[in-house]
């Protein structure tokens, strides 16, 4: 009789501690995306030898009309628009192609860069993401801002990062971080089916989103040969190889055409693909 007692007396607390350990262990995985390894304090190369890349993104052919959004069920958001609420994914109004995520895809392997402290703000105003496309560095925080004052939820469905689905019932900011590079992470709001946005996560600061004129620039690059990629939500991706020499500014242009519209569809299909297809002005409806 006693022998079993001794075995049990040793076994039971061990099991209990293990459970509490792993239960508690689960605890510290909380918090935004988990911090990456400690980023260095300053640039891994001599800034004086840096070069720049500038350029612009153009679009040829007839752009598709802006998609009209049916916001009847969300009167507060519809009120913020003069005409019909709409979103134009292929925005050529400012002369060039807007909302193109341009970043250095190859050429910076093995180098780790300081994480900018300042958060990238993705605002939700008039039931739309502003900007539609944003870029952020691994470990840098993204601030989702709800300036509509009504319920939005940020349902991000990355594959390399951990998916999350957080809500914002009132005007507030929610900060998240991404632990792994991933181009692009689709985000959507389940309360307003038409809302869709994309976040590009890279391991270095050399990323930007083209403005209305299509212009973009990547500054302070270490000299070397790089592959620059331009990603667009509807037109797919283009890439170019460019060499950066000290003190020089390399010129790059990306030329999207309307023929790329049909082939691309939604380039980065997250696990929600059957939903985003049906929801985001895709072909189905």
């Amino acid at each position: 009789m006693a022998r079993y007692e001794r075995v049990l007396r040793v076994l039971a607390p061990a099991v209990l501690l293990a459970v509490v350990g792993c239960g508690g262990g689960g605890g510290d995985a909380a918090g935004g995306g988990g911090g990456g390894d400690a980023a260095p304090a300053e640039m891994p190369f001599d800034v004086a030898t840096a070069g720049n890349i500038t350029g612009s993104v153009t679009f040829e052919g007839t752009p598709p009309p802006p998609e009209v959004l049916d916001m009847t069920s969300e009167a507060d958001c519809a009120a913020t628009y003069t005409g019909d609420p709409e979103v134009s994914w292929v925005d050529v109004g400012g002369g060039g192609l807007a909302d193109v995520f341009v970043y250095v895809r190859e050429g910076l392997e093995g180098m780790s860069f300081p994480v900018p402290g300042q958060a990238v703000v993705i605002d939700q105003q008039g039931c739309q993401y502003r900007p539609l496309v944003a870029g952020v560095q691994v470990g840098q925080s993204v601030a989702f801002r709800n300036s509509d004052g009504l319920l939005h939820n940020i349902n991000a469905s990355p594959t390399a990062n951990r998916p999350f689905n957080v809500s914002q019932p009132v005007n507030m900011d929610t900060e998240r971080e991404f632990a792994a590079p991933e181009v692009m992470i689709p985000i959507q709001c389940d309360v307003h089916g038409w809302m869709a946005g994309y976040i590009g996560v890279v391991t270095h600061p050399y990323h930007t989103v083209s403005g209305g004129s299509g212009a973009f620039d990547l500054s302070q690059l270490p000299p070397g040969e790089y592959v620059i990629e331009a990603w667009h939500a509807r037109l797919g991706t283009l890439e170019q190889t460019v060499t950066v020499t000290t003190g020089q500014t390399a010129e790059v242009t990306f030329n999207f055409t309307d023929a790329m519209l049909s082939s691309a569809g939604t380039p980065t299909d997250g696990p929600h693909d059957h939903r985003t297809m049906a929801r985001v002005g895709g072909v189905a409806e």
Partner: protein, 593 residues
């Protein structure tokens, strides 16, 4: 029939308490195999989770009463739950889910089955301990990690499960829909472990009652508390494994991506509902049948009168347990299952109202022509009967399928649940704790404060939950974070605010019971039979020593022979021999009266 005093020495049995060597602290209180110590352990564990469940309820009521406003003390919560004290919708869903999960699986069920099952069964059947003491200890030490895992699910990424305590698929089958990944998996794993704890416990209870009854203690001399716990043990034995199977399948859907309940890959969401409710309905009877047993004990003791129709009370419990297996479809009238099934389940559900009615009338019959001592356990028992009447009757509305169309998944259902679980089981638990406090701790709880607590709880309880019937009839749905988004419910805010405030008062009133419970640990000691009851647990000192009975008890009469004509006292212990037995009988000296 001469009775020789038990001469054979069964040293295997720690029968007589005195020659038992003093146990080290860890074996006496932490890893004890004594059913009374395990009962106390379950008592403290489940009272803790009752408090946790109560706090979660208070938060739910805050959000419903004061939608979107920062909760006082809410800023202690992390931003993933309530930034600036404002409860987020996904946290509200987690509150609703975890309030029900903690209350059902970690408070009411362990309180009824774990606490009173462990304390009463060996004592009332006259056994020294459970049939398998080590298995009994394992049952408690499986419930603790289950509770820890469930608590831990609040702290993980994505928060606790937000798919309701019923965890309907596909919402619960993939974190894609709720953003809750690890939290749901912990919820499933925790209940799976708790399933083992419950099955281990009920194997013990059934074996002890069948096989270790004292001589003379026939089936129809068993007290109704033990009858109820015995039938409940059978329900657990047969229902928990069904839940275990369903939880495993859902856990695999969540983790390795099997296709049981995920429609996009061919699974059947309705299959989960069938499996869950096939366990679910016996589960809700597991939550009420022991309470009925306790109520019978305290009502009969309070009225100083035998339970009216003991045989039909036992038959009613068996009837409820049997019918409980063929009614599960009434939870799924609207679920999309074949409507014709709805008619069959309506008929079986209507039938199950009959045994409950029989029990209610028998309780009233017990009080009729009694000599009612309004002590606290009896008051809680009478409270149980009156509120169980309302709970039972509101069940008839839902059983009628067309009426269920309007009130399914509305606050009418919430009112019914709370009338049966809070007004029913929890009041019976208060009655049980107060009644058997001497057997737990050898002391007695303060009668005055017991009555104050009862009166305040009874009134505030009704103030909180009775208006919910009206909310339900108006169509206000369950689990709505902010119901006032619907214009037709906007005018229900004042009533909800009133209910919320009443609930805060009700939660505060429970402090009286907590203080009474804790402070009475130091009150004056009591003898073996303070309530002058008959069953075997009152024939041993309070608290009973290890091994319970000095000598093997012999039972000569039923448990409810109160106010026997011709007896000098209005109660008589089961171990009292009949008058015509010769004096030699008395060698088995009963404990002091």
């Amino acid at each position: 029939m001469s009775v020789s005093a038990p001469t054979t020495d069964f040293d295997l049995l720690p029968f007589a308490g005195e020659h038992h060597e003093e146990l080290p602290f860890i074996r006496k209180y932490i890893f004890s195999t004594d059913h009374k110590v395990i009962a106390r352990q379950f008592l403290f564990l489940s009272l803790f989770f009752l408090v946790v469940g109560g706090l979660l309820a208070a938060m739910i009521r805050w959000q419903l009463g004061f939608p979107g406003q920062p909760m006082p003390g809410g800023d202690v919560l992390p931003d993933t739950m309530a930034p600036g004290g404002i409860i987020l919708p996904e946290f509200y869903n987690a509150l609703v889910t975890m309030h029900a999960t903690f209350m059902i699986f970690f408070a009411i069920m362990p309180l009824l089955v774990g606490v009173f099952g462990n304390l009463l069964i060996p004592l009332q059947v006259g056994a020294p301990d459970m049939a398998f003491p080590r298995l009994n200890m394992a049952s408690f030490w499986l419930a603790v990690p289950a509770g820890v895992l469930m608590l831990a699910s609040f702290a993980v990424e994505g928060g606790a499960s937000g798919a309701g305590w019923t965890a309907y698929a596909p919402l619960s089958a993939s974190g894609e829909w709720t953003g809750v990944y690890l939290g749901q998996q912990l919820w499933l794993a925790s209940l799976f472990i708790l399933g083992f704890s419950s099955i281990a416990g009920s194997v013990n209870y059934v074996t002890t009652v069948i096989n270790m009854r004292a001589p003379g203690l026939t089936w129809l001399r068993l007290p109704l508390a033990t009858w109820a716990l015995f039938i409940t043990a059978w329900l657990i034995l047969l229902a928990m494994p069904i839940l275990a199977g369903a939880l495993i399948m859902l856990l695999f859907d969540q983790t390795i991506g099997t296709a049981f309940f995920r429609p996009e890959v061919g699974g059947e969401p309705l299959l989960w509902q069938h499996l869950f409710w096939y366990f679910g309905h016996p589960e809700v009877y597991i939550l009420i049948v022991p309470a009925m047993g306790i109520a019978s004990e305290v009502v009969s003791n309070g009225s100083r009168k035998p339970v009216f129709g003991y045989h039909s009370m036992v038959l009613a419990i068996c009837g409820i347990a049997f019918l409980g297996w063929i009614v599960w479809g009434h939870h799924m009238f609207m679920s999309g299952m074949n409507p014709m099934l709805g008619t069959t389940f309506m008929v079986t559900t209507m039938l199950i109202a009959v045994p409950s009615a029989i029990k209610v009338f028998n309780w009233l019959g017990t009080m009729w022509k009694g000599n009612i001592h309004l002590h606290t356990p009896f008051l809680h028992g009478a409270g149980f009967v009156s509120l169980f009447i309302i709970g039972g009757l509101s069940g008839v509305f839902m059983a009628a399928t067309p009426v269920d169309i309007q009130i399914h998944d509305t606050y009418f259902i919430v009112a019914h649940i709370h009338y049966v679980l809070f007004g029913g089981s929890l009041l019976a638990i208060f009655a049980g704790i107060t009644f058997w406090y001497p057997k737990f701790f050898g002391r007695i709880m303060n009668e005055f404060w017991g009555k104050v607590h009862f009166v305040l709880t009874f009134i505030l309880y009704n103030v909180v939950f009775f208006p919910m019937h009206s909310l339900g009839v108006q169509g206000m749905m369950r689990r709505l974070y902010d119901p006032y988004q619907y214009e037709i419910f906007a005018d229900m805010l004042p009533l909800n605010r009133f209910i919320s405030i009443a609930l805060f008062a009700l939660v505060v009133v429970q402090v009286i019971f907590a203080l009474n419970f804790i402070l009475s640990l130091r009150s004056e000691k009591v003898g073996p039979n303070p309530w002058k009851a008959n069953s075997l647990e009152w024939a041993v000192p309070s608290p009973p020593p290890h091994g319970n009975f000095q000598h093997m008890p012999v039972v000569y009469r039923g448990p409810y022979e109160y106010s026997l004509p011709g007896a000098e006292e209005d109660y008589i212990l089961q171990t009292e021999p009949d008058e015509e037995a010769e004096p030699a009988e008395r060698s088995v000296e009963p404990a002091t009266r």
